[in-house]
Amino acid sequence: MAGPGNIPPSASDTGYRSLIGPLLLPTWAVIGIFMVLPVLLMAVYSFLTKEFRGGVIWDFTLAAYDQFFVTRGLFGDEPAQIEWTYINIFWRSIWQAGLATILCLLIGFPTAWFIATRPAQTRGLWLFLITIPYWVNLLIRTVSLKFLIRDNGPLNESLMAIGLIDGPLPLVNTNLAVQLGLFYSYLPFMVLPIYAAVERYNFALSEAAADLYASRWATLREIVLPVVKPGIIAGCILVFVPSLGAFLAPDLLGGAKTFMIGSLIDEQFKGSQGDWPFGAAVAMILMTLVLIVLLLYARAQTRGATR
């Protein structure tokens, strides 16, 4: 019940309303200059004519988008049809990033919870424990992971030694390995934001729920999750979005047999296709999709904030 006396203190009460400009100026300046301008340049590139083997010719065209959405057969003379190749690549990448996000959430949430419920002095230590591995370069970590899970690697050999399996589990070059790699690449990006939210959680709420005979899991679902939701959403964004464009894990652990969004774009700039406008167009389509999702989230958030 939000009666007249019950309105949460409006933001201006803490005095930041008049500071919006100065507080946001550094963000707008830095990202505006060093990200928006380059991205606008790429947006323009996506409408230019490709220069053979890299580069652009300043002739406006929709060819790159046409290539993405429309096919006319291998030789370009069949009737136009919807091109499914790239849509499928997108779908596969979204599916894969989504799975990785769920995996990170399923394991990252309990980890974050566990850390947030340690004594205050040791929480920082646990956080560092999660991030220390990331002082070693991702490529090295991924290659080592591959070493561990290969057919004659330590994991399979020890499983065989204790008789749990008869032959090696084929892990390398499977989707499972890719998931493991993505999980390994992005786990802290899930744990830390959730930790920041859970650490703030008032456990008196859980106690109250327990007093009312709510089960542990019902409390988690009904009381805890709504409160720590911002952390979970932040974590999911930080895992899902970079996973969409990732190609180290898919290539090294998955065998690079099919394009992902990341490797498709990479191929246009660094591969023999050298089609910058098409690479730019794929990036623009990806950005548009992510932006729509993020703005829907922001809108929901705004509505929540002004309710």
Binding site: R17, P26, I107, F189, V191, A210, L238, T302, A305
Partner: protein, 273 residues
């Protein structure tokens, strides 16, 4: 009956999490002491690769690269965290305003653009405006892409902190600056630390963008070692990685000790128990 903080299975999952995180590093650490040059065979315990890191032909290059990496990551993460904290205050403490959605999209933009696109576009941009590529261009690029990684944990934390604490302080005639420094910032700290850590590791790890915007001969650790990792990790790279882990552990220990000393002061608010 166990307390409300306890959930069955959460401890095993945390342990599983740590095992997965550290197992590949154990491989790296163990093989950095391998007397043989090959990862497939064990040639007895040896410190030769550590000697190689410090006295080998590439010692200077690796040392310089590690220094560049660490300083860039420190500066970029700190700058990005300050920028992101300011942005979070405006986004979540100033009520609705025009351009809020646009600002939100802007903050997250670096997250949405695939790295290779940022890399090529930024290099073209820098060379268009005549900025010579070098340390500064790497730093600028890093600060930019670190912002969303710092912002999201901070904002997530800030959302959970009610305005009532600050309001109470303001009612007691604290200035806005005092209310921020004494009340809000300590409450915000777990988010700030999380954000800084994410920004730091993201900067430390970056290869694709750095490789494009760095000037000739300006190396960070990832660009210096990438080649010798892609064809299968060389043992000297494993030694460097193990040393980096050691540096990080020293760093953490130091931070912990300093922090403990600081804790002689009364506990910060927000430790709702």
């Amino acid at each position: 009956m166990k307390g409300v903080r306890y959930y069955p299975g959460f401890l095993p999952l945390t342990i599983l999490c740590l095992v997965v995180l550290y197992a590949p590093l154990a491989v790296v650490a163990v093989y950095s002491f391998n007397g043989s040059a090959s990862i497939t065979e064990w040639g007895g315990f040896s410190l030769r690769w550590y000697t190689d890191v410090f006295t080998g032909p590439e010692a200077v290059r690796f040392g310089q690269a590690a220094w560049n990496s660490l300083t860039i990551a420190l500066i970029a993460a700190t700058t990005a965290t300050v920028i992101a904290t300011a942005a979070a205050l405006a986004m979540l403490r100033a009520g609705p305003f025009r351009g809020r959605q646009a600002s939100f999209a802007l903050i997250n933009l670096p997250l949405m653009v695939p790295e290779i696109v940022i890399a090529v576009a930024t290099l073209i941009f820098f060379s268009t405006i005549g900025l010579t590529t070098g340390y500064l261009t790497i730093l600028l690029a890093h600060i930019t892409f670190c912002i969303p990684f710092a912002y999201l944990p901070i904002a997530a934390r800030l959302e959970g902190v009610e305005g009532t604490y600050e309001q109470a302080a303001r009612d007691l005639y604290a200035t806005r600056a005092q209310a921020f420094r004494l009340i809000l910032l300590p409450l915000l700290m777990p988010g700030v630390i999380s954000g800084w850590l994410l920004a730091f590791i993201i900067s430390l790890d970056d290869f694709i963008i750095t490789n494009f915007v760095k000037g000739a001969g300006m190396e960070t650790l990832p660009t210096a070692i990438f080649g010798s990792v892609k064809q299968g990790i060389k043992p000297n790279i494993m030694a460097i990685s193990t040393l980096m882990l050691l540096v990080s552990v020293l760093f953490v220990t130091a931070a912990y000790l300093i922090n403990r000393k600081g804790r002689q002061a009364p506990a910060t608010p927000g430790k709702t128990t």
